[in-house]
């Protein structure tokens, strides 16, 4: 093995070591300063996320939307786009799926309705992603601002639907719409908290994403556009079209995540259907250094933090938002380490 190949293998591992050490050190110092024991918290969080199959399957139910959102973001980041609008795309996917489920309930076989709801989720999220892309291409609106604006619009639409046309019989409630008919739920085996179909879809979507990025001409074009739009034109690539496709694919996968939240987790449409998983997806991909291979593991870690933090208030009387602090510390550490690495390379 030559030295350059060795360095391409060791550099990410070294970076990961430094990121983990920095994040662990920063969070531990913060906790000690607050008079809390990092070890007790770590034990409590691991017990809350992986101590038995029920908890592991709950962790996997969080991993599913995280992996889908992060897979979608791999496309947009590869094209050099910051898809902050992923939350809105997830919401619109949930709305698209719910619309299909409500319209076709009792009209078609449940399996077909669920499959069409997934298509509705893909379409809803994909179209919302497309709007961000069109605003960027046609209106010159930066995708960050376009996406952020459309997040608010999507949140407005979901609230309007839940408190208006789709409100529960007799009363509108923040708890969401009426529960779906039981046969429209994605089936979950006894003792499981995650639907195997949802898990399979997320894993399949991730593998397909990794394949498209690494082993297709489209993946290469995304890379070219993300790194140098001007030069990409010289290769006959249309950067706007490639970027728009990335936004649609990213939005579509986020929309599918929204659909699965409806059909496999909540079994209804709720105002906070995205649960911030879109934003977490952004952090996961950044922490992964925009590399597909690391995404499932970091998503699993983030899911474990989210699942494990739920019992912190009960066991240690600590707010569960601590998981957000840890996630933030990890991403900041990653940005610092990547920044230092870039600086060293450019010298």
């Amino acid at each position: 093995m030559n030295s350059s190949r060795l360095s391409t293998l060791t550099t990410p591992l070294l970076q990961f070591f430094f990121i983990a050490a920095l994040a662990f050190g920063a969070v531990s110092l913060l906790l000690i300063a607050l008079g809390l024991s990092p070890m007790a918290i770590a034990e409590s969080m691991s017990a809350g996320s992986i101590s038995n199959w029920m908890r592991i399957s709950h962790l996997l139910s969080i991993w599913t939307p995280l992996l889908l959102c992060a897979s979608g973001l791999l496309f947009t980041f590869r094209a050099g786009l910051w898809n902050i609008g992923i939350e809105g795309q997830m919401v619109m996917g949930a709305i698209g799926a719910t619309a299909v489920l409500r319209m076709l309930n009792g009209v078609a076989p449940p399996g077909l309705v669920i499959a069409l709801a997934m298509a509705g989720g893909l379409l809803g999220g994909g179209m919302w992603g497309m709007f961000v892309g069109l605003l960027r291409n046609r209106g010159g609106v930066n995708e960050i601002f376009g996406g952020l604006g459309l997040n608010f619009v999507a949140q407005g639409i979901i609230l309007w639907l839940i408190f208006g046309p789709w409100k529960r019989a007799g009363i509108a409630s923040m708890s969401g719409t009426d529960l779906l008919a039981r046969d429209l739920w994605l089936s979950t085996p006894p003792g499981w908290r995650v639907a195997p179909v949802a898990l399979g879809l997320a894993a399949g979507a991730f593998l397909l994403t990794a394949l498209l990025l690494a082993n297709t001409r489209f993946g290469l074009q995304l890379k070219a556009v993300g790194k140098n739009q001007q030069a990409a034109r010289l290769f006959g690539i249309q950067p706007n079209l490639v970027g728009l496709t990335a936004m649609m694919l990213g939005g579509g996968l986020a929309g599918l995540a929204g659909c699965l939240q409806v059909t496999a987790v909540y079994h209804r449409l709720i105002p906070s259907i995205s649960s911030g998983y879109g934003y977490l997806g952004l952090l996961i991909v950044m922490l992964a250094g925009y590399r597909a291979a690391a995404v499932p593991f970091i998503a699993l870690f983030f899911a474990a933090l989210a699942a494990g933090s739920i019992q912190l208030p009960i066991v240690l009387q600590i707010d569960s938002s601590l998981s957000g602090v840890i996630q933030g510390a990890c991403v900041l550490s990653a940005l610092v380490v990547h920044g230092l690495h870039q600086q060293k390379r450019s010298r």
């Binding site: 001409r217 140098n228 034109r233 290769f235 690539i237 249309q238």
Partner: protein, 259 residues
């Protein structure tokens, strides 16, 4: 400096009489320092044209419009018999090649390897198996004498090797080669090699148009020289019908004084 525009001077009868492959008719653009101001010119098969002028006098804008990488605000550009108006802004790599001055920020993609550049430039299929193009990259590296391996990234190459990589990406049979500063930053050997390769690569029915701040390069390699001044072509002559001094004076806007 650009207050008074000099008269246009030309000897069009001196040119090779091939078919027209590119024509500009009253083309205007406000891009860049001078933009283009009512530029009309015709390029025929077999011509090698050098564009001279002070930096920002319109040469770069001219090349980018000819390469369909920039749209003019008015006027007509016809390339290989097709009006470029309304075409999507991108290069038709089969017939036209544009080699920019800033190889790394405009022509190559930092972070992409030699193999990936060649895959992008070729008609590779949708699915690319791991290792695809490695052999093709090795051949290009050997043929173009690039100091690198198939997985060497473009930003890891020296300026001369970046230029060699750019040249290796040209489709065989490209009929119109547009270049900005083709030998800028290259050592003498690489410069000579670049021109030899371009001459060999160009088909009989093709043409080369290049801009260069190096007047010696223009006089040595071009058959015709166009001098840009304040966005206009003010001097258009066969190189054998003019000399270094005339072109130098034209670059500073003094064509009326040339006998």
């Amino acid at each position: 400096m650009f207050d008074t525009l000099p008269e246009h001077e030309s000897t069009p009868e001196a040119y090779i009489g091939g078919l027209e492959i590119l024509s500009f008719e009253n083309v205007c653009s406000s891009t860049g320092r001078s933009g283009l101001n009512q530029v009309s010119v015709s390029v025929r098969e077999g011509e090698v044209i050098g564009l001279a002028g002070l930096d920002g006098s319109g040469q770069s804008v001219f090349l980018k419009i000819a390469g369909n990488l920039m749209e003019p605000e008015s006027g007509t550009v016809v390339r290989f018999g097709h009006n470029l108006a309304g075409n999507k802004l991108q290069q038709n790599r089969k017939e036209t090649v544009f080699l920019p001055a800033d190889r790394l920020s405009e022509g190559l993609i930092p972070g992409l390897s030699i193999r990936e550049h060649l895959l992008l430039a070729s008609d590779s299929p949708f699915f690319i198996a791991p290792g695809t193009g490695r052999q093709q990259a090795k051949q290009a590296i050997a043929k173009f004498n690039i100091l690198g391996r198939p997985e060497t990234v473009a930003d890891g190459l020296s300026g001369g090797n970046q230029q060699r990589l750019l040249l290796s990406l040209m489709k065989p049979g490209a009929r119109l080669i547009l270049m900005e500063n083709p030998t800028r930053g290259l050592d003498v050997q690489s410069g000579v090699w670049t021109w030899q390769h371009l001459r060999n690569q160009l088909p009989d029915n093709g043409a080369i148009i290049f801009a260069s701040p190096d007047l010696e390069e223009i006089m040595e390699h071009a058959g015709r020289v166009l001098v840009f001044f304040d966005g206009r072509i003010i001097f258009d002559k066969a190189t054998r019908a003019t000399d270094f001094n005339q072109v130098s004076r034209a670059i500073t806007g003094h064509v009326e004084a040339i006998a």
